[in-house]
């Protein structure tokens, strides 16, 4: 990407990044505190960390055991 940093419209982008960060941290906290997840835990952590938005959502929908 060759856009200079100061030309990125931070006012519009920052809230989106912050929300994604909150989503990621919540998913991470939930995943670590969970005793057992559906499927290996370390894989979910990688999912949550590296696939933004979709990773945490997938974890919340499929990773948690419903009880």
């Amino acid at each position: 990407m060759n856009v200079p940093l100061n030309e990125i419209p931070w006012g519009a982008i920052a809230p989106i990044l912050v929300l994604q960060l909150i989503l990621m941290i919540t998913a991470l906290v939930s995943c670590i505190r969970e005793e057992k997840t559906n499927g290996p835990k370390w894989l979910w952590i990688l999912f949550i960390l590296f696939i933004s938005l979709i990773g945490p959502v997938l974890y919340f929908v499929f990773g948690r055991r419903n009880n």
């Binding site: 990407m1 060759n2 856009v3 519009a12 982008i13 809230p15 989106i16 929300l19 994604q20 909150i22 989503l23 919540t26 998913a27 939930s30 938005l53 945490p56 959502v57 919340f60 929908v61 948690r64 419903n66 009880n67």
Partner: protein, 259 residues
């Protein structure tokens, strides 16, 4: 009534505990906000990542505010519905499997209170997510593209919320009559998808269909006026919601609580 309140409060604490009260609204906000941002910056995005040959001139009309918001609602109609159904699929079925429903129903709790508290919990999370997400999207649209009158936003979100209530009520119904979570989600999405596609194919003959609600929403956003068929669609949608709720209660009464 007090029993209902207790059950409803249990429902809400559960949503706090499994973070639903946090992540579903955030996802709705992100879905709503990304649409105006990406339509505003589309030329730059294409410029940077599109790998177009030097000197290509792209004429892209900026969509109007109402069009962007219609796009947002259609995203809610796809991804939002998917997320709502998937997060609500176990609402009764998994409680029955884990025995929690049995433990609740041992006490003299009316079956209707149990189902209605579940329903109210689902409505709370759905409406909160829709309203917050939509208002965020409206804010971004008026910031980046153009201001859309707040009345239209309000009217359209109220009409759209009826459609989402319909979707969530169906999820609750299938969660009551079926066992597995996955099959609940599958059947609900299949039913919603069929209603929508049959309605869009036979549009003229199905003015009463609940799936007309999203269409009416778009109409209100664009012109500020309701089409003539709206009242009919509204009445059938509400009637179906009530019938589905009542039959969920009846079926729940007759089911074995422990499977």
């Amino acid at each position: 009534m007090t029993q209902w309140t207790v059950l409803y409060r249990k429902e809400m604490t559960e949503m706090v505990r499994n973070y639903k009260i946090l992540w579903i609204p955030i996802v709705f906000i992100l879905l709503g906000v990304m649409q105006p941002v990406s339509s505003y910056y589309m030329p730059e995005i294409l410029d940077t990542f599109g790998d177009l040959p030097e000197g290509t001139i792209l004429e892209m009309p900026l969509p109007t505010g109402a069009e962007v918001l219609m796009q947002v609602l259609s995203n809610y109609g796809m991804l939002g519905v998917l997320i709502l159904v998937l997060s609500a699929m176990g609402v009764v079925s998994s409680e029955r499997q884990s025995g929690v429903a049995g433990m609740v129903m041992i006490k003299p709790v009316p079956y209707s209170s149990y189902i209605l508290s579940k329903w109210a919990g689902l409505l709370t999370i759905t409406l909160i997510s829709l309203f917050i997400g939509y208002v965020a999207s409206w804010y971004y649209t008026s910031l980046l593209i153009e201001t859309v009158a707040f009345e239209r936003i309000f009217q359209s979100v109220v009409i759209y919320s009826i459609w989402l209530v319909f979707v969530v009520t169906l999820t609750l119904f299938f969660s009551t009559i079926m066992k597995g979570n996955a099959s609940v989600a599958f059947v609900t999405i299949l039913v919603i998808f069929s209603i929508s596609s049959v309605t869009s194919i036979l549009g003229k003959n199905m003015t009463w269909s609940p799936a007309k609600m999203p269409e009416h929403t778009g109409q209100v956003l664009l012109s500020g006026e309701l089409e003539s068929g709206f009242l009919l669609a509204l009445i059938t949608t509400i009637a179906i919601i009530i019938v589905v709720l009542l039959s969920s209660i009846q079926i729940f009464k007759q089911k074995e609580l422990l499977e």
